[in-house]
Assembly symmetry: C2
DNA sequence: GTTAATGCAAAACATTTGCATGATA
DNA sequence: TATCATGCAAATGTTTTGCATTAAC
């Protein structure tokens, strides 16, 4: 189970799985596809553990990111989004589709970057360890709407 | 000349090429490869037009972005970076290499995303109009340093 | 003379930090 | 009991806004 793995990873580095931390994790797991902001995670977490503070949410997200459990990214709208990493090879090939009209965020999987990364290392000596690929445009729904 | 084109585009929508706006543009053109932050652009612009205010720089960057003259992006370090679009087909295929150790920002050109974008439209109906691709890792210099 | 643009200061916003308190191994 | 974690409030840093003034067409 995902949460057991996380707990083990935490204890490995002598961090504790406090009720607050656990609640944040539960929220992240329950909304694994929703790309929540810190504020949204805070709101959800309050339902599970009402006394939590926003700073605690931020601190836990930071820790979970440091431990490689959570992935943090942004769309240039001034706030970070967080997503739990489910593990597995496909993780690396998971990109985002962002609708400029309605803000919808979708996902797309492809390993086509492999070739580019290899070429980068060969041509420039830059060693790629990670990437971030986002596509902007119009989602299917907004296309339909704007064509009517 | 790039600046004439920008001026034409501004006037097309009845915006004015004020001395401040002109100075911001000059800075962007002179530092086209440097991925400056708003604060840095402000500092440079003050040398050309000392009475300019930071808010004016922000307002002009926002306008230039809206007009498609400037590209805004960020690296998750809490501030936006700005880059003038030089025009041309290759613009779209221009990506960033970001060194996690020294903060160096390089560029890389490739049109390999074309195929992915086509696939996205076919598979999900999402119409891609733009993308943002960033590679994180170690630049050649930092690799050398860390291996010694 | 209209309208757009500016400078300044204040506000807004997301995020981080200090610190005393509380909980956990 | 030593250490980690929390809550709150204050601080930070970037970006935006209000408003009276100024400049451009």
């Amino acid at each position: 189970m995902l949460k057991d793995r996380v707990k083990a990873k935490l204890e490995e580095e002598s961090y504790r799985l406090t009720p607050q931390r656990s609640a944040v994790l539960d929220v992240l797991i329950a909304n694994a596809d929703d790309h929540l902001s810190a504020e949204e995670i805070y709101m959800h977490t309050k339902k599970l553990h009402s006394e939590i503070g926003l700073a605690t949410v931020y601190r836990n997200l930071e820790l979970l990111e440091k431990l490689g459990i959570v992935h943090r990214f942004d769309y240039g709208d001034g706030q970070s989004r967080y997503e739990i990493k489910l593990g597995g090879e496909e993780e690396h090939y998971h990109h985002h589709l962002i609708c400029k009209q309605c803000g919808y965020i979708g996902e797309f999987h492809s390993d086509l970057l492999e070739a580019i990364e290899q070429r980068i290392e060969e041509e420039s000596g830059f060693q790629v360890t990670d990437h971030c690929l986002r596509f902007f445009g119009l989602c299917a729904q907004c296309r339909k709407k704007s064509s009517t």
